[in-house]
């Protein structure tokens, strides 16, 4: 805990990557033959079908697919919030049997408590599990400053914009220093400009912390900008139909979006999606 607190303060060296995080051979998250079937009004719906995946420690992996393809379900199964009907998921070599404290989760809506200040919302994970929030106040404030919310610590969610609320939610997901961050379309309710800003904020933070991230989105460009690897999912029942490494150099600047290579990768992904869905995806 103190280790990371000091990392936070070392913001002067922005892209100093801890060496132990950069060992891509270490498998951190794995899924074998994972399927999920829901019962809806007596009908069975296959949400996810025979998914195998392997994510290395410190890797940023995005699940990309159309709405309702089961990518969120897969994410929730990794987080232990849903149980697979078949198959097995492991994190750090241990099977997932339920929610774990070493996983941070972020949702599409910020899910902040309206009666709490930004700072207290960041500290919510401690409060709701009966731990003292006092020892973590400084770190929460530092995190808020880190995402550009210095001076907003005492503001209520209703006084913050949508993008600011998601920044608070991001800080909350990171405050307990999770080894794995699960992000379920965290920016898809934001406007395009705010969304781009949030991508930069997230990248900036991630360059520093280098924790494993599984990110869910239906935006192709967002996936390419953020990820080390994009896993393309098919329509329901969701299967992984392509595994595309994103070889763009890091740290990435928003201007990377105009580069030829970025657009080539987007084209490849778009082709894979349209192959799978049997029609041309919109550009």
């Amino acid at each position: 805990m103190t280790r990371s607190a000091s990392t936070l303060e070392k913001a002067a060296a922005p892209y100093a990557v801890p060496v132990e995080a950069l060992t891509p051979e270490t498998q951190f998250v794995s899924a074998q033959g994972v399927s999920k079937t829901f019962e809806v009004d007596g009908d069975t719906v296959d949400a996810v079908e025979r998914v195998d995946l392997s994510i290395a420690a410190g890797e940023f992996v995005t699940l990309l697919g159309p709405s309702g393809c089961g990518k969120s379900t897969l994410l929730m199964m990794i987080g232990g919030l849903e149980t697979p009907t078949h198959g097995r998921i492991e994190i750090g070599g241990r099977p997932v049997t339920g929610p774990r404290p070493d996983i941070g989760v972020m949702f599409q809506d910020s899910t902040l408590l309206p009666w709490k200040s930004a700072l207290d919302n960041v500290l919510f994970p401690f409060q709701i599990t009966g731990r003292s929030t006092r020892d973590h106040r400084d770190r929460a404030a530092a995190l808020l400053r880190r995402v550009g919310l210095g001076g907003f610590e005492g503001k209520r969610p209703s006084q913050l914009s949508g993008g600011m609320r998601q920044r608070v939610a991001l800080c909350r997901a990171l405050i307990d220093e999770p080894d794995l961050l699960l992000m379920d379309e965290p920016f898809s309710a934001l406007d395009a400009i705010t969304r781009d800003e949030m991508n930069v904020v997230l990248m900036d933070l991630w360059q520093q912390f280098r924790k494993t991230v599984v990110f869910v989105t239906h935006s192709l460009r967002e996936a390419v900008f953020l990820s080390d690897r994009v896993l393309v999912m098919s329509r329901r029942p969701g299967r992984i139909i392509a595994d595309v490494p994103i070889t763009l150099p890091r740290p990435r600047d928003p201007s990377v979006g105009e580069s030829l290579k970025f657009n080539e990768i987007c084209a490849v992904l778009r082709q894979k999606i349209s192959d799978a869905h049997g029609h041309t995806a919109a550009p």
Partner: protein, 272 residues
């Protein structure tokens, strides 16, 4: 096209200052309903005076005002038991309704077992049950208080249980991901979320408590505005009946206003 039309037609804007806004709310919220009430009373007064209507049947507003002035001590003396019973009943209802709501929301089994009966019980015309309360609890304060609670707690129960269940599913998911216990989620998430709902329920409950108390006093009492109305009716003292009703109205408004003030204070403090 419409855009060009808008830019061409320069719409004159009225200067809107905070003071102007305040004056507008003042006019709308106080002067407008006040003027309507005064107008209605004036029409009533004029109708009685001009038609020479028998005042024993319908007294004029001026008669009622005179009766209030003449009986002010009596009215005040009988206000106390009524207001006290209504407020006590209301407070008990609030606690009882809130506790029941928490119990019902916390346990699926309890909910399925108890909730249908509670609703069915509420469908009975409750006033019809008032004499039963007297048989069970006697003619003292207990039966009036019990009846007041009985008639007013349900709005709290419904509002509060709705409030406890409005917590966003993703927020509950977040709590689950943090391995939070049910009790902590209740205390730190569900209860604060339900506060505005509880307050809305309290506004209904205070008016119901007033009704419950008066009905209770009609059935059995030796004091209170309900008692005063009954005895005045026995003497055909229509002026005093109307005076009592007017005082009752004033107390009702005052209590409702107090709950609303409380609501505003709490809502501002929560800042939702």
């Amino acid at each position: 096209m419409s855009h060009t039309a808008e830019t061409m037609l320069e719409v004159p804007r009225l200067p809107k200052t905070a003071a102007a806004g305040l004056r507008l709310t003042l006019a709308r919220q106080i002067l407008l309903p006040g003027a309507v009430a005064v107008a209605l009373i004036a029409v009533w007064q004029a109708a009685i005076v001009l038609t020479n209507f028998p005042r024993v049947i319908v007294p004029a507003p001026s008669d009622i005002a005179l009766s209030i002035a003449a009986n002010r001590l009596l009215l005040l003396q009988h206000s106390w038991p009524t207001v006290a019973t209504a407020v006590e009943g209301f407070l008990i209802s609030t606690v009882l309704g809130a506790v029941l709501a928490i119990a019902v929301v916390s346990s699926r089994t309890l909910r399925d077992a108890v909730f249908p009966s509670l609703v069915a019980f509420q469908i009975i015309p409750k006033i019809a049950l008032a004499p039963i309360f007297v048989i069970w609890l006697g003619t003292g304060l207990e039966s009036r208080l019990a009846f007041t609670v009985f008639i007013s707690f349900f709005s709290i129960l419904i509002a509060m249980s709705d409030g406890l269940e409005t917590v966003e599913s993703s927020l509950l998911k977040l709590c689950r991901s943090l391995n939070a216990t049910k009790l902590r989620v209740l205390v730190h998430v569900q209860l604060p979320t339900s506060v505005p709902f509880l307050l809305a329920g309290m506004k209904i409950a205070i008016t119901m408590a007033m009704i419950g108390t008066i009905v209770g006093e009609f059935i059995a009492s030796r004091a209170g505005l309900g008692y005063l109305i009954l005895t005045a009716a026995g003497r055909l003292d229509t002026n005093l009946i109307m005076a009592s009703i007017a005082v009752l109205c004033a107390w009702g408004l005052l209590l409702y206003g107090a709950v609303e003030l409380f609501e505003r204070t709490v809502t501002r403090w929560i800042g939702s």
